[in-house]
């Protein structure tokens, strides 16, 4: 029986049950953190071989370049060759950087603001700049926009891409709209996977801004949770075919493949955009950490090496996703007290609780020692218009902790819902 079908009496009964459960929960003094999409120690252990690589005798790459010295702004060919087919970016259009793709996104925005893109009449920083933000989305993308005063326009994100009617209309009309954030594969936090059809529309649509850019953050390109290993879309080829070769910036990293803090990041785009990026990057650095590139190349060996490693990750994390699914289903399913996503990959489950209660749920959970990402964090400016979305990041805690946290969270969801319904 659904929550909305319950009488006030039944609701009051439910509430006192949940109140009792909540009091018990608080009494347990839990300390659980489900805030960030971090790999667990067991996942990190998979790549411990990296900690002793490339080995004392290995000082050069295949071409004979001394990896210890300065230079090589585009990054080591070996590591670019491994990720080229996985990301569908030609080796010569792929740049390997330091440990954070977020940094490359930051820097491309900085260069656009201060110098302009190759298609810009003037630097973006000279006037108002707006970005489309499919929501729910990634809070750190939105934080970059806020940092630089870029106005964020939310558009709804469905299971295979954003509301295309809204997107195409907005970009056609407003030349200040310079970008759109996209996590094409297993989007953070909903798990949406952009279809080729949606992608084709995005690379083909006319835009009022000649220097419009798609920030294609393929953070979870190879992070499958099922046998169905959705391949990356060749978005650069589609864009070139559509006559907009410079429209797309591709980003990725090994943060959730090898080590979250010590991986390799990637940038891919048209040759002209890559030249633009490297020209500006070369003022900032004499080159990336090539030893780390070589270390990764020696460890990962090939695209299949990456795929194999990702299957080991899946073995560790898919049971945690299954736990979340089963507990949410058991505790909230019949009552229809919430809905949530069933991702085929990535790092998150997006939970929609009763409208107007997400903030209260997160607050209740916090008081019970279960720290969730702040309500609204998946929306521009932290404002969830319906106050219902909560991001669940189940990868880091141990399975027993995931269970305890999600069970406690379910109690908070029900308690907040009955509070709301009974207050009417």
């Amino acid at each position: 029986m659904s929550l909305s079908d319950l009488s006030r009496e039944q609701l009051a009964d439910l509430q006192s049950q949940q109140r009792a459960a909540y009091d018990e929960l608080v009494g347990k003094g839990l300390k659980l953190d489900l805030t960030r999409g971090k790999p667990s120690p067991a996942q990190l252990d998979l790549s411990n071989a990296l900690l002793a690589l490339p080995g004392e005798e290995t000082t050069t790459d295949a071409a004979g370049t001394d990896v210890r010295n300065y230079g090589g702004t585009q990054g080591l060919p070996e590591i670019r060759e491994i990720f080229s087919p996985l990301l569908k970016v030609p080796v010569e259009q792929l740049v390997a950087g330091d440990n954070a793709s977020l940094a490359i996104m930051h820097d491309t925005i900085v260069y656009a603001l201060l110098k302009g893109t190759i298609d810009s009449e003037r630097p973006w920083g000279g006037g108002p700049v707006k970005f489309l933000c499919p929501t729910p989305g990634y809070d750190r993308h939105f934080a970059l926009c806020e940092q630089f005063g870029i106005e964020m326009i939310p558009v709804d994100l469905g299971p295979d891409g954003p509301d295309l009617e809204a997107v195409t209309r907005l970009v056609a009309d407003d030349a200040d709209i310079k970008g759109i954030w996209i996590v094409p594969t297993y989007a953070n936090p909903t798990g949406a996977v952009y279809s080729e059809e949606v992608t084709r529309t995005l690379v083909t649509m006319p835009t009022a801004a000649p220097d419009f850019r798609m920030f294609w953050d393929n953070a979870y390109a190879v992070h499958h949770l099922t046998d169905e290993e959705t391949p990356a879309i060749d978005v650069l080829a589609l864009a070139a075919e559509a006559g907009y070769p410079n429209r797309v910036f591709v980003f990725a990293s090994t943060s959730k493949i090898t080590f979250a803090g010590s991986g390799v990041s990637f940038f891919g785009s048209s040759r002209a955009n890559v030249d633009w990026y490297l020209k500006h990057l070369s003022k900032r650095t004499i080159g990336p950490d090539k030893v780390n590139h070589l270390r990764h190349a020696r460890y990962l060996k090939s695209p299949d090496g990456v795929r194999e490693l990702m299957r080991k990750h899946r073995e560790i994390i898919s049971p945690k996703f299954a736990l979340v699914e089963s507990i949410l289903s058991e505790r909230l399913g019949d009552l229809e007290a919430a809905s949530w996503t069933h991702p085929h990959g990535g790092y998150f489950i997006s939970l929609d609780v009763m409208e107007g209660t997400a903030t209260r749920v997160v607050e209740l959970a916090k008081q019970a020692g279960i720290v969730m990402t702040g309500a609204g964090s998946a929306f521009p400016y932290g404002r969830d218009p319906q106050d219902r979305n909560i991001r669940i990041a189940p990868t880091f805690p141990a399975p027993a902790e995931v269970s305890a946290a999600i069970d406690g969270l379910a109690t908070c969801v029900l308690l907040a819902a009955t509070e709301k319904l009974l207050a009417c």
Copy 2:
């Protein structure tokens, strides 16, 4: 007998000797590169232990933090503790970053341009920005200014600091002057060492801009070439004492201590400036490569570990500096055909040839297969007003190559000088 004392006939004789030597030189088909201050393979070999560190069993730092995962924006305490006394920056005011201090310089400028410093009324980018550039100086500093349209004002650099009369007058008058580039220890390329007295004037002088910053790039803080190991000046304490605690940004890295491309960079300043830097940095990255920090901490062990390693570097490179000195002295000394610096540390020798001939010398050398940094590169906009300065970087080539290159260069210096004198 000095060049200027030679008769036309003697000059013509000298020229034909040098012409013959030059023709012979060209005939040798040399391929020598003295352009950049790069460590040699033998220097890099000193730190090959890093290539297998921290080892497969080592996943946490002393505090128990998992170095493989996200986080820790300020960098690993262990590595900051080692460099704190060497750089004279309190551990809690020192940030450890990725592989390039140039990147931190770039980013502090970007943040100041787009967001303003903590003492700025508005972002620097809103109006004209000027930097004082002691010359000869470091070309990559000047390239950063050019990149962002920062007007460069050259001031003469002496053996213990810049022309203070000019510096204090300029900064007192012009509120658009927001910064000064400083390489305080063994400056690139002259080897100048800022005295405490000069430093005290710089941190004490009134500036029209309330948000004036000294970009104190202590790239060669521990890179001594003699027994006299000049310690770093405690510039942050001096600035605080003078009532300008936020005036100084300190930069450094291990690029020329461990691996040029895979080291650790540092940023130090007042607590308030460090908070400002980290606040902006946290939008760009979730943390630096902490595994590399731990790797370095395990390898270097202590400040004395760094000092000991630097003495091994000195054993390798000081004979190369001695070679340059002896060849220049032998070939050019009696004729007074050039003057050059006698650095007690760092990576360069600054050669001043006859006025108006540096471009020609570099061109002649290039045609003989000896590539030098472009004439004028140590000056803002690449313009050496007297066309006389050439930067010599003797660390990378093997000793025999250094000899061949410097001997060839001396020939070019004499040939160009006689050309000039005979053309009068």
